[in-house]
Structures are given as structure tokens and as C-alpha cells.
């Protein structure tokens, strides 16, 4: 397994780092917050990302992409995580384009992927219905009429749902609650009659939406994948998304850790640098070790996505390992980040607070550590 980046991947990573540090530093997020920006990301920066081709990194060339694999997208997400950059990269590219590419029909791919890559179409995934992630636990129904389906129900935690042009909606067309069979995906225009999208502002300054469907009518062609068989395909898309989120978390964790170590090396107390206190040293060394493990799991999971020899279950295991591990370590490092910075870490003026806020959202998004440990155990049949 390729656990070290190859030269091309390293080059992409370096260039992404350069872009994020120069053009999209953390101060951008602060400004979006302070100005109560309604979109929630900087559209100019997004245009620059588009011109760098980031929306097409993992998309095959046939559909206008660069076929550079998920490892490529992963290093970009990692670097954007370092600066806590908010952009459609997660909802529209990592999740949206992946869903189309993985599940869509040939005509859907030909129509939609080029638009996503060009930035003409923003997508958002509407899967969760409760306060915890549980993707087979779907009560939103899609009822077949003559030539259309009527969607009824509600969704929550729909990242960037308020600016999406289309929603990918996970519905139930058959079967009881919490069954994998009977799940069907639809692409729904966000201006459809009966659809209400309510923006909610999250603690990490990103935007999620709560979405209500009141007999929203969608044509049969809007179906993504097969009727009633949507779960397995969805789960693979979610796994790719989980791995991508883990890559973004990895970037944030590393940035946070770098800031902690810098602080330990410059802050004096009682006449010595606080980094010389063994109590803090051992905690720093423990974080370092955990972060090394994080790097390996993210690299391995991304590499696995680009390896056609691996099956669905192997990918699923690595996705759950990565999301569980990164969630746990982000929790640790974000708490230590505040604690080790002391009073200044508690002030809004200082940047550390942005990381702990982002940490809890990222931890929960698409399943927290407990969810993924349970899933891993199930995959491992124990």
C-alpha cells in the first residue's frame, strides 16, 4: 500500500498549501463570520479554486475531470483544513460530484459533472434526519405517482443546503425504518415547489440547512441509481466523503498542533519556557504519536480509494477507522489547544477557538467515533 505520497501528489499538495496559506488564510473565515456572510464561503476564493481545477481532481477525464484520484483530492482537503477554509469543496465536490460519479447514469454524469467542475452547479447531500448520523434510518418517503415521485419528510444537518442548486435526497420508497433495503436517492432542484430550505448557522461558522419536503414532486429521471437499492451505493459515497473529511481534519489537527508547539517554545512562565515542563512535554509527545497514526490512516484510506483491487468492505473498514481515529484525536488536540494556550486561548481574538468549534462539527459529521467503532465492529463481524 502506498503510504507515502508520490511526486505528483506531493507537488499538488505543495501548490494547495501555497494557495491556501496565501489566498485563503484563517482570517477569511473570521471575516465571513464577522460580516454575517449569508453564503458562508468566499466566492472569489472559490472561483480561484475552480480555476486551479480542484473541483475536477477526482473526476474521470471523460466528464471533464483530471482523473487524479482521491489521493489528490485528499491532499487538497488536508491543506484547506489547515486554514479552516470554508468552500463548496466538501458538499459539492467531495460529496456531490462523487455521488454523481459513483451512482449517476451516463447521461447524468455527462450533464452534471462538467457543471460542477465549472462551478455552475452546487450540490448538497440531505441524508440525516435525526440529531445523530444514521444513514439507513430514513423516514422521508418518496411515493410513486404516475410519472413522478412525491417526497415527504424532513432532513437536518444538510451542509451548505442553503446555497445548493440541487439536493441529493435520501428517501425511502419501500421497507420499514432503519432497513437498508428500500432506500432510493433523488436529485431535487432547490427551487422545487413544496421544498423549504432553512439555513442554520453552526458553531464552526459553516452553514447547514434543515429541509422540509411537503409533497415535492420530482420526475423519475431525477432518480440517482436504482430504486430501492440505494443504500450500498450511498454507503460507498459516504465512505469516500468520510475519508475526505478525515483528510480535512488531518490538516486542521496538524495546524493546531504546530501552533501548540510554537506556543510552548515561546511562552515563558516562572522564568522558563513552558515547553520545558515535562507534564506538557509528555502530553505533546502523546499528541504527536496520535497524529502520526492519523496521517497513516488517512493516507491508507485515500490510497485504498484509488486502488481498484480493494472491495467495498475493505474500503468501509478503512473509512470507519479513519473517521473514528481522526474524530478522537481532533477532540484531544482541540481540547489541549485551548488548555495549553491558557487564557489567551479562550479569547475570540485568538484563532484557537475556531479549531475547537470546527472540531466538534467535523467529529459529528457523517458519524462520530462511537458510530464508526460500532460500524467497524459490525463489519468485522463481532
Amino acid at each position: 500500500m502506498a503510504l507515502v505520497l508520490n511526486e505528483d501528489q506531493q507537488m499538488l499538495k505543495d501548490s494547495a498549501k501555497n494557495f491556501c496559506q496565501q489566498s485563503s488564510p484563517l482570517s477569511v473565515l473570521r471575516k465571513l463570520r464577522d460580516t454575517n456572510d449569508e453564503i458562508g464561503f468566499d466566492t472569489q476564493i472559490w472561483q480561484q479554486m475552480l480555476s486551479l481545477g480542484w473541483a475536477g481532481i477526482a473526476v474521470p477525464e471523460t466528464y471533464g475531470g483530471f482523473n487524479f484520484g482521491y489521493s489528490g483530492l485528499g491532499v487538497v482537503l488536508e491543506e484547506s483544513g489547515r486554514t479552516l477554509t470554508s468552500s463548496p469543496l466538501i458538499p459539492s465536490v467531495l460529496i456531490g460530484a462523487t455521488a454523481i460519479n459513483e451512482i449517476g447514469s451516463e447521461s447524468q454524469k455527462l450533464e452534471l459533472l462538467p457543471k460542477i467542475i465549472a462551478g455552475e452547479l452546487l450540490l448538497a447531500l440531505a441524508v440525516d434526519e435525526q440529531a445523530t448520523h444514521s444513514p439507513s434510518n430514513i423516514t422521508t418517503t418518496a411515493t410513486k405517482t404516475d410519472k413522478t415521485y412525491l417526497i415527504q419528510g424532513k432532513k437536518t444537518f444538510v451542509l451548505d443546503g442553503h446555497v445548493a442548486d440541487k439536493l441529493i435526497v435520501v428517501t425511502r420508497t419501500a421497507g420499514g425504518t432503519d432497513k437498508e433495503a428500500g432506500i432510493t436517492l433523488f436529485l431535487v432542484d432547490s427551487d422545487s415547489p413544496g421544498l423549504e430550505i432553512k439555513r442554520t448557522l453552526m458553531v464552526d461558522n459553516r452553514n447547514s440547512a434543515q429541509v422540509h419536503f411537503d409533497d415535492v414532486e420530482v420526475p423519475s429521471e431525477a432518480m440517482l441509481g436504482e430504486e430501492g437499492n440505494g443504500f450500498i451505493a450511498l454507503d460507498r459515497v459516504l465512505d469516500i466523503a468520510r475519508i475526505g473529511i478525515a483528510a480535512e481534519m488531518l490538516g486542521s489537527i496538524q495546524e493546531l498542533f504546530d501552533r501548540i508547539i510554537d506556543y510552548l517554545k515561546q511562552r515563558e512562565q516562572f522564568g522558563v519556557l513552558i515547553g520545558s515542563f515535562q507534564g506538557l512535554q509528555h502530553r505533546a509527545a502523546t499528541m504527536y504519536s496520535e497524529i502520526e497514526l492519523c496521517k497513516s490512516t488517512v493516507r491508507a484510506a485515500l490510497a485504498a480509494l484509488d486502488n481498484p483491487d480493494l472491495d467495498r468492505i475493505e474500503i468501509a473498514e478503512l473509512a470507519s477507522i479513519a473517521k473514528a481515529k481522526l474524530s478522537e484525536v481532533y477532540f484531544l488536540v482541540s481540547n489541549e489547544g485551548v488548555q495549553m494556550h491558557g487564557g489567551i486561548g479562550m479569547t475570540d481574538e485568538f484563532d484557537i477557538g475556531f479549531f475547537i468549534k470546527r472540531a466538534r462539527v467535523a467529529q459529528q459529521f457523517l458519524g462520530d467515533a462511537t458510530f464508526h467503532r460500532d460500524r467497524y465492529a459490525t463489519l468485522k463481524k463481532f
Binding site: A131, R267, G342, I352, I356, Q364
Partner: protein, 411 residues
């Protein structure tokens, strides 16, 4: 014993007659009474209650009557508190004067100082703030640089303080100042009181990650404080400071104590108890359906009950002996860690409903959880960081050696 029984009867009768009905309900944040020159009473009955308590000195039941206190014995105070709890009475007054300054004035202040300040604290007429930390001083409190120079009948004070709670709302400050720069850092500090309305004082609120601004930066530019506002002896302020920190720790550890109870700050709500919140948000089939979370909550509740018992034991032990002691570091630290844990578990229980910041999609209680979770992170920083408390336990309680002094003698 008969005397105590009599006291209980009369206290019960008095409370029955004097405690307004709305003061017998769980406290809500907005109705906390801080007193001061510009007092605010969201609920008018709060003022009635405060005045009646103050008249008997029962805002500070153990303080001598001479200084406006209740003059009660320890045993009587326990009975009074039991009776107050019995009717679920709210505290009449919340004040750093009561919890922090008062006890050290009683111990170190002159008779005149006590006469001047204590009655006003009892009646909630003056709101106090604490001038301890300075920008950059952090845990190394004694490195403070705010200077007080004696000029005739007053001290001239220059410098700045940080983390002064509600300095923008306070009337007076108790403040650590440096009065000698030519001696080891602990030996040149004095403890002084002055009016926040004095000329040359400016305050600037600090916005925290939770969005709230309970603290200020406070700047002193040629502020004059009368010479006899010095408490204790000149350059002996560190002794008083340490004593006061113990009182502060005791106060802060009570946050953790409260977190052990199902009852969060007296409010009744979905998130009042961890298990209630978890069952509400995570489902409940006779028992909490997420068994891993259930185990975590059980562990938390066991720890917080054990902590509460330990606080009680510490009170029982101190009755047989001295005031707050070195175990206050342990209680402060453990209580704060418990409170932080509590909020992390609550976040987990509420799932994505704990992740809101403002606006639609989250109810008021959920939004409060988010903010209080962020607020809780300061628990292990303010009043001495966890690291400092662990150092104190290691050195003062366990008698472990200090590495810096070891290396000095050894090398």
C-alpha cells in the same frame, strides 16, 4: 441542642414569612442579583428578598454582627442552609465580596477597613472585582508588574490587569500591586483596595470564544488610592493573595459540585440531567438505547457523586480543624474537569443539535448548551490552571521535590 432546635424553628418561621414566593423557585441566569451602586433587579421580589436577608445579616450568616453579618455559629449556619434548601430559596446575593474579599478582610483587615467595607458587602451596596492577573502573567501570578508608589497620603497606581471579571460593572476593586521591585518577586507585592470610579481607570471587555464578555482588561493611569486602603502589611500582599485564591478555588470547585446533581443550576429542562438529555435525543426503550453512551454517563455520575461526597467530607473535616486547605486545589481541579466532561457528554448526547450558534434550527436550550460548553473550557484555566493545581498537590500535599530547586542544589 435545645438552642439549636429553637434556632431552627425561628429560622423556619422567619423564612416562611419573609421569603417571597418567586424566590422559592429555581434561579434563572437573568435574575441573579449582583448588587452594587447601580443594582439591577429583573424581578422586583429579588430586591425585597435581598433587603430582608441583609437586615438580618443572613447574606453573610457567619460574619460578626458588628460588621453587619448574621453572627451565627457554624452549627446555626448549617441549620439555616438546610432551611433555605428546604424551601428551595434562591441566594439573595451573588458577590465576590462575599465569597472572596470578605473572608480575607475578616482575617487580615484593620477594624476600620472591616467597618467600612463589610456592611456594604452584606447589603450588596458595593460590587467588587478582582485585580490579580496581568497581561502575560498567566499562571505566574507573582510576576505582576502593576506599580503602586507611595506619594504622601496615597498610592499612585500604574499598570494593567486582565481577566478582571465584570470590571466594567464593578464599583471597587481588590488589587495586587508591586510596591517593591528590588526584592524576590513574592516579597514585593501588596494588597490594596480602591474605587473603580477613581480617575485614570479604563476597562475594555474581552470577547470570549463563547461569544460572552464576562472579563475585562483594566488599565490604571496614575490612579490614586488612599494610603490606608492597603490591607495587611506593606509588601506582605502575597500571603493574602494566596489565602484569597484558596477561597476562590473553593468557590469554583462548587461548579463541579453542582454538575454532579441532576439539577443544573436549579433549572428544569430537557438538558437538566445528562441521562434525561440522552434519553430525549437518543431514544429510550426502557433504558438509554446507546449503551456505550449510557456507560459513559454512569461513569460520570459515579465520579460526580464521589466528588460531591468528597466535598462534603472536606467540609466535615474542616469543621474539626482549619479553614480551606491544600485539598482545595484537588477539589478545584477535579470539579472543573468534571464540569468540562459534563458538557462534552452533553454535546455527544445532543448530537448535531448541540452544534448551533444562533438563529433558526435550534431551540434556546440547545444554543445555551453550545455556549456553556465553550464557557466550560475556561474552568481549568481560571482560578489557577489544572497544571498549577496538580503542581500544588504534588508539592504541598505529596511533598514531591521541585526540579528547579533540585537542579540548583545539585549542579
Amino acid at each position: 441542642m435545645q438552642a439549636l432546635d429553637d434556632f431552627r424553628s425561628s429560622a423556619r418561621v422567619w423564612l416562611e414569612e419573609n421569603c417571597p414566593q418567586s424566590m422559592r423557585t429555581a434561579m434563572v441566569q437573568e435574575e441573579i442579583v449582583w448588587g452594587g451602586r447601580r443594582p439591577h433587579y429583573e424581578n422586583p421580589e429579588s430586591k425585597v428578598w435581598l433587603d430582608r436577608l441583609a437586615e438580618k445579616g443572613w447574606t453573610c450568616p457567619t460574619w460578626p454582627q458588628e460588621y453587619g453579618g448574621g453572627g451565627l455559629s457554624k452549627e446555626q449556619t448549617i441549620i439555616l442552609n438546610e432551611e433555605l434548601r428546604r424551601i428551595n430559596a434562591r441566594p439573595g446575593l451573588t458577590s465576590f465580596g462575599i465569597s472572596m474579599l470578605g473572608p480575607v478582610l475578616l482575617e487580615y483587615g484593620s477594624h476600620e477597613q472591616k467597618l467600612e467595607h463589610l456592611p456594604k458587602i452584606v447589603r450588596g451596596e458595593i460590587r467588587w472585582c478582582q485585580g490579580y492577573s496581568e497581561p502575560g502573567s498567566g499562571s505566574d501570578l507573582a510576576s505582576l508588574k502593576t506599580k503602586a508608589e507611595l506619594q504622601g497620603d496615597h498610592y499612585l497606581i500604574n499598570g494593567s490587569k486582565i481577566w478582571t471579571s465584570y470590571a466594567d460593572k464593578a464599583d471597587w476593586i481588590f488589587c495586587l500591586v508591586r510596591t517593591d521591585f528590588d526584592v524576590p518577586k513574592h516579597a514585593g507585592i501588596s494588597f490594596i483596595l480602591f474605587d473603580m470610579a477613581s480617575e485614570g481607570i479604563t476597562t475594555k471587555p474581552i470577547q470570549l470564544i463563547s461569544g460572552a464578555s464576562p472579563f475585562c482588561e483594566t488599565f490604571f493611569d496614575d490612579v490614586k488610592a488612599p494610603k490606608n486602603n492597603l490591607v495587611g502589611r506593606l509588601n506582605d500582599g502575597w500571603t493574602i493573595a494566596k489565602r484569597l485564591l484558596q477561597h476562590e478555588r473553593t468557590m469554583i470547585s462548587s461548579f463541579g459540585l453542582a454538575s454532579g446533581q441532576s439539577d443544573r443550576g436549579g433549572t428544569t429542562s430537557t438538558v437538566a440531567s445528562l441521562e434525561g438529555a440522552a434519553m430525549h435525543y437518543r431514544g429510550d426503550k426502557g433504558k438509554l438505547s446507546d449503551l456505550v453512551l449510557r456507560d459513559e454517563i454512569a461513569q460520570f455520575k459515579i465520579d460526580s457523586t464521589a466528588f460531591m461526597l468528597t466535598s462534603q467530607r472536606s467540609i466535615e473535616e474542616s469543621k474539626q480543624g482549619q479553614g480551606p486547605n491544600a485539598t482545595s486545589s484537588m477539589l478545584k481541579n477535579y470539579g472543573c474537569e468534571l464540569n468540562k466532561r459534563r458538557y462534552e457528554i452533553l454535546m455527544k448526547a445532543l448530537g448535531s443539535q448541540s452544534l448551533g450558534w444562533e438563529g433558526e434550527g435550534f431551540n434556546a436550550e440547545e444554543l445555551l448548551v453550545t455556549r456553556e460548553w465553550l464557557r466550560s473550557k475556561a474552568n481549568s484555566i481560571e482560578g489557577g490552571t489544572s497544571e498549577v493545581q496538580l503542581n500544588v498537590i504534588a508539592k504541598r500535599v505529596l511533598g514531591l521535590p521541585d526540579i528547579l530547586s533540585m537542579s540548583k542544589t545539585n549542579q
